[in-house]
Symmetry: C2
Subunit: 421 residues, 2 copies
Amino acid sequence: MDALAADFAAELDRQDELAPFRDEFVSAEPGLIYLDGNSLGRLPRRAAERVRAAVEDEWGRRLIRGWNEGWFTAARRLGAQIAGLIGAGADDVIVSDSTSVNFFKLAAAALAARPGRRVIVTDDLNFPSDLYLLQGVARLLNQGHTLRVVHSPDGLSVPLEALAAAVQPDTALVALSHVAYRSGFLYDLPAVTALTQAAGALMLWDLSHSAGAVPVDLAAANVDLAVGCTYKYLNGGPGAPAYLYVRGDWQAELLNPIWGWFGQRDQFAMAPDYAPAPGLERFLVGTPPVLSLTAIEAGVELVRAAGLERLRAKSVRLSQYLLTLWQAWLEPLGVTLNSPADPARRGSHVALGHPDGWRINRALIESMHVIPDFRPPDSIRLGLAPLYTSFADVHEALRRFRQVLAEGRHAAYPAGRPAVT
Amino acid sequence: MDALAADFAAELDRQDELAPFRDEFVSAEPGLIYLDGNSLGRLPRRAAERVRAAVEDEWGRRLIRGWNEGWFTAARRLGAQIAGLIGAGADDVIVSDSTSVNFFKLAAAALAARPGRRVIVTDDLNFPSDLYLLQGVARLLNQGHTLRVVHSPDGLSVPLEALAAAVQPDTALVALSHVAYRSGFLYDLPAVTALTQAAGALMLWDLSHSAGAVPVDLAAANVDLAVGCTYKYLNGGPGAPAYLYVRGDWQAELLNPIWGWFGQRDQFAMAPDYAPAPGLERFLVGTPPVLSLTAIEAGVELVRAAGLERLRAKSVRLSQYLLTLWQAWLEPLGVTLNSPADPARRGSHVALGHPDGWRINRALIESMHVIPDFRPPDSIRLGLAPLYTSFADVHEALRRFRQVLAEGRHAAYPAGRPAVT
């Protein structure tokens, strides 16, 4: 059978044991190929019903009683469910705030745990928000912390040796994205954690681009700290609250730098002085946004039902299939692979590069009914969400991508994203 | 007519020009008297439809495109609407995070603006989370900041002179709740702001218990900073994101201590170094919880439609009526007034005290279909939300309160709230 033919994709879909999960998601626009589940996952059908119930039955009918009927415990309950997806104990993950706020909390807590050390190691593939937060924490603490930013020689990946060389006895914290937001580069999490801890530093992983698509075993790797978002492969909804992980033995020692009442021991005693909750609740701050919190559960349940080994296996098949089509159809037209070629070193999205990447991305969205996204300077990211992305989606998306280039459709769009002034 | 008769309440409701607003809210449980709108406002009918649309039409159908079709601008748009309720310019209020996280951001920013001063003035009526956050900021900055906590001599209010005496040339920041969470004490916001600024300190108001029920004019009083929640009198839904206000001339000078990508100038340039957005966006941090954000608008619109002068006038009428009934029915049974008696010094809830307050509160909720709430050591708070609380509600609630005491119904409940261990 011709690997480039649509029939071949259809056959792969027939063989896909995860194919039935596609029907668990709302697919409201026929013909749309959605390849941005790495940015915002699709709406699980059950999530719509859960949110409706939270609005009408809980807020509308139960009113303030909702707090004692599930809202107060939602952060823990959802945390325990997510824990099962990242190899953490049920008591070691809690849902709270945004990924950025959680990252701030854990980075500041980690630096306080290594008072004699002044270096934070990260890399230049890291998500900008994580870099900004580290810069801000260093400035706020005013103790002379500096960032040591490991440079990616090819813009796609960071050699383990380069990272190892940067982690020194002066290093308090190593903070990295497990899967890099642009290239999709996948770190060897156990190896990096081990070399970090061998140097006496704490390890903080951002799992935003891996949880739900790439198996993670925090406990096996003895990871100190982690954060992640719920709105990508976990399908928790736009801006859904994030989670944080603190290894059990750190929970009584580390302090949240933001002392809010949800982090207080015996919160409703309303005592005048802060006393942190004994466990992970100390990393909560204020009242959580219940409706957005409620939306998370359905997507997480689907990921759990599918199982991460199966999801990862499909994700690799999808991305390898995408590379086959890229090589045949797009590489000859000047499109580069801006992700690692080795699937073992890649998460669940593939970045393709072109000097006109911005225009091509707009043409795909606005004239071809394909939704990827664009990341500067030249990457079009194609997110493969194994719960609902089909091989036929990949085939048709790359066919349309080729058509854009062949017909020069992208020339109709402005040359670059407008700068914000 | 007998002021204690149910007919009298019915007549007051007939004369109430805001009475039609009651129908704008879901009232799912007949006979329930809800007096906890100062903690969680009722569900506006229109909010249910807005959230449904955000889930099904925006997330479900538009997917990632939702960000460019309203989600990115929601923080600003909602901020501008709330600004109109607190006397702020449309560009001076933005919705973000929780009240506690916003309070942390503004408190840290304010202290950095007064580097030579080391005292934070607050009072012991303040909401515990605000006290904890100030304690935490002082510890985190590690610059020797201390709290000067003005003591309320009667537990109900703070004399202006006591506050004035505490604000000295060493004072960097004065942080207070405009309306105290327990007693409902209402500060003279312009006078406190003026004396604070006369001493060279910055003024940070927490408006959580006033916005939507008590007129506030931040601009007229030249207030520096403010925060507030949206889920009380604004009816934004459980844990709905909070807002923050920064006076225009401070916006380019103050820095958010949490440097996230939503606070970055030209966020999607994905530059490696933090450069704060020129305006109020610099006080954003991470991706906002869109569904909870969406729920806010309907409640704010209702407050705007009713108008704060009318809302305040009705609130005062409701609370004065409540005091009449308290005096006749409850004071003889040992129930104290735990709020200021002067309506000019009181927000929109009334606290009634009793040594068995915890049990009475449980009896009201569980056997009398009345929902107030309890705050230690002995206060039962009765929230009067002028958009939907009726005079008949007040009459019937106090009648049932009297019945609990007369029949000793509270004796069936445990003597105090269980401590969290």
